[in-house]
Amino acid sequence: MNINKLIEIFKSELKEEIEDFSRTTLEMNEGSVTKEQLENIFINVHTIKGSSITLYNNILKKNEKKYSNIASNLKIISNLTHDFEDFLEILKNDNNFLKKEEIKHILKFEEIIFEIQENFEESNSELLDKEAKTLISKIKKINKKQLKRYFYEITLSEEEFDEEYKHVQLSILYNEIKNKYKDYVFNPTEEEVLQEKNFKEIFIQLNTEENEEEVSKFLNSREDIKEAKLIPYIQKPININEQEAVLNKKDHPNKKRTNKTSKKTILKIEPDRIDDVLKHTSQIVVLKNNLNELVESIHLNDEDFLEQKIEELKNMIFGDLNTYVDFLQESVLKIRMTPLEQLFFPLRRDIRKISEEYNKELILETIGSSTEIDKTILDELPDVLLHLVRNSICHGIETPKEREEKRKDPKGKIRIEAKHEKNMVTLSITDDGKGIDIEKIKEIALNKNFITKNIVETLSEEEIIDLIFISGLSSTEKVNQYSGRGVGMNAVRKKIENLKGSIKISTKKDKGTKIKISLPLTTSIIQAIIAKINNDYFTFPTTQVEEVLHLDKRKIKTVSEQEVFLLRDKEIPIIFSQDFFNLNNEEKQDKLFLKIIVLRSSNTLYGFTIDEYLGQQNIVVKNLGILSGKTKGISGSNILGDGSISLIVDTNSITETFKKTNIQ
C-alpha cells in the first residue's frame, strides 16, 4: 500500500474517532459526566494515539522531509494524546463530578484534534503546537496525584491440568485484585470468565499510586499466579498491537463502528421501505393483468354485459389503480426520507464553539430529531440552521451577567423543534434571548437608505422585522467570523423559498425570538394549488400559500397608488398577475369579485390575483432545464392530468420585485 493511501486511511479513522469523541462530549455538556463517558473518550484518544504513532514511526519517519506537514501534525497529535490519556485516567479515578475547568480541557482537546484533522495536509503546526502545549501544561498540573498505570501479562500456575479450573483460578484472582485496587481492566473480562469462554492470554491493567515493586510483589505472591510480567507501556508506544490486546475488548471502538451511520453521500435505506415498494409494485402488476383481461373480454356487440363491464372497469381504475399508485408514490418517496437527527448532531459542536467565543452559556434542546425529510432538502439545511442559531447566540442570547440582571436563568436556551404538520415539516428555532430590537432595525434601515422615513412610519412591527431579510442590513457593529455581515438572512430566505418552503419570524422583547420554517416533505413531489390565469395554468406550492379568497372589488383601497385590502385587520397589497407576468389584460373588468391567492414570504403577505381556482393536488416538479433561472417569477413546471403544462410560481421573486419597487 502506498503512503498516500495510508494517510487517507488514517485521516478517515481520525475523523471517525473525533466524531465519536464529540458525540460523547456533547452529552457531557448538558449534564454530569459519567465514568462510562470518560471511558468512551478514553478509547477514542487511545485509538488516535495508537494509529498516529504507527503512521509516524512505520512510514513517515523515513519520508519526513517529503511529508513534513503531516509529520509535524502527527507529532502534535501523539504528544497531546499521550498526556491526555493520563489526564483522563485521573479523571476516571476521581469519582467526583468533573470541574468546569476539566471539561474545558476536554473540549479544547477535541477542538485541537478537530482542527488538525480538518487541515491535515497543511502546516498549521505553529499555532496549534502552541495551543497543544498550553493544554498539555494545563492538564499536567492536574496530574499531580500521579496515578500510574501498569500492564501485566499473567501466567497462571498449572497445578491442575483441567482446563475449566482456569476459569475458577482466574475469578478468584480477579476478586483478590478487586479487593485491593479500585481501578483495573481485565482481559478476558470477568463476564467472559464467568461464561467460561476460552482465552489464550491474560492481561490486566491496574491504575494505582503504588510503585512498580509493590504491585509486582502483590501479584506474584498470589497463589494462582505463576508469573506476572510487567509490560512497559508508555515508554514503548510503538507496540501498538500489544496495547490494543490489553484493552478491554468490550469497549473497543471497532465494535461500535459497525453500527455507526456512514458517509453522508450514501443513502441508507431500511429494507422495510424497499419491501413496501416491491409490494405496491406487485399489486399494480396484478391490477394491470386484470385490466388487460377485462378489456379483452369487452365485446361491443355484447350489449347485455357491456354496461356491467364498463362499471367494473371504472371501479378498477378509480378504486384500485388510484389507491395502488398512491401507495407506490408514498413508498417511493419514503426511500429518500432521512431523519433530521443528521442535521442536529453536527450543529451541537458549532453551537458550543460559538457560545464559547461569545462567553455565553447555553443549553441546546432538540425535539423531534426523528422527523424525516427528503434527503435533498436535508442537505440544504445545515447552513441555514447554523446561520439562524449563530444569530440567536450572537444577537439574541444575553451574557450570563445581563441575564441575571433580567432575572433570567444565566444559561440561555435554544430550542430546535421539528415536526410534521399537514404534509409539511416545520422546523422552529426558539431562543429566550432579548428579542429583535425593532427600533434598531428601523434606525439602521433608515441610515442605510433602505427605506424612507415616510414609509417606515406606516410599517407594522412584522414588516419591520421583515427588513432583516434585505441584503446588507446587519445590526451588529462588529463583523466577525460568525456574524455581522448581514447578507445571511437574505440568503437564508432565498434558500428556504427555493426549496418551496417559507420562513416566519416572531419576537418579543426580552422574551426571545422564534423562527419558524415550513418545508415540503420532498422537492420532487409537492402539494400545490392549481389556478388559471389568462386561460393558462399556474401552480402555487401550498407551503407558500396562506389562503385563497374572493374579494369584493369595492373593498380594494388605494394607498400611494398601491392597491391593498384588509384581511383580518392586516393590510395586504395586491399584485395583479396580468401585470406581473406581462400578460394581456383581457379579463372582463366588470366582475364584482376578484379571486385572490394570499402568498406568504417571510412575515409579509401578498395578494396575487387569479382568474380561476382549480383546487389542490400533488404535483411532480419538473425544472425548466436550460431556461432555469431565466424566468422571473417561475421556478419550474408540472404536467397536469390532461397533459397540459402548468408553471410553478416562484413567490420569492414576486415579493422580491414588489419590495424593490416599493422600498428602494
Binding site: N582, K622, G625, I626, L627, K630, G633, I634, I645
Partner: protein
C-alpha cells in the same frame, strides 16, 4: 470543388424563404406541431416549453435569435427541431422541413456576406441541388446556439 471522403447527412429546413441545415447526428429529434406552453417573463427569443417524454424542452425562435427582421413570425404549424445544449434539451421552430441532404461536398467557410448576427452560429454554406435549381444553405453549429 473539394470533396469529403465520406457522405455527410444534413437535415435541411427553412426559416422564411431561406435554407438552413444541421448535421443529422447533432440533433436529438424532430417534433411535429406540439402543444407549446407560453412562458411569461422570460427571454424574448423563448417561445415557450413543450413536454416530451418526461422532459421539459424550452423552444426558441431562431429568427429572433438571428435577428431576421423581415419575417419574425414562425410557422407554428410546422416542426420543432430538438437538440442538446450543454446536456439539456433545447428546441427551435422551423417554418418548413425539407428532405434531408446527403453530400460529400465540403462546407465553404469563406464568405463575407453572412451578417454578424448569424455568423457566430454557422459553420459555413453548402451548395445543393433542389428542384433542378442550385440552392445555398447555411450550415448551423448547434453547439453554439444557446439561449
Amino acid at each position: 470543388m473539394k470533396k469529403k471522403e465520406r457522405l455527410e447527412e444534413y437535415v435541411v429546413f427553412g426559416l422564411g424563404e431561406e435554407y438552413y441545415g444541421v448535421k443529422i447526428n447533432s440533433l436529438e429529434r424532430i417534433l411535429s406541431n406540439d402543444y407549446v406552453r407560453y412562458v411569461p417573463n422570460t427571454l424574448e427569443i423563448v417561445e415557450g416549453i413543450v413536454h416530451n417524454e418526461e422532459q421539459i424542452i424550452p423552444i426558441i425562435n431562431l429568427k429572433k435569435k438571428f435577428k431576421l427582421k423581415k419575417q419574425e413570425k414562425v410557422n407554428y404549424n410546422s416542426y420543432i427541431i430538438v437538440y442538446k445544449q450543454n446536456n439539456q434539451p433545447l428546441g427551435f421552430y422551423v417554418d418548413h422541413l425539407y428532405e434531408s441532404l446527403e453530400t460529400q461536398e465540403e462546407i465553404r467557410s469563406e464568405n463575407n456576406y453572412i451578417p454578424e448576427t448569424i455568423l457566430p452560429y454557422t459553420e459555413g454554406v453548402l451548395h445543393f441541388q433542389k428542384d433542378k435549381e442550385k440552392e445555398i444553405l447555411i450550415v448551423l453549429d448547434l453547439n453554439k446556439i444557446s439561449i
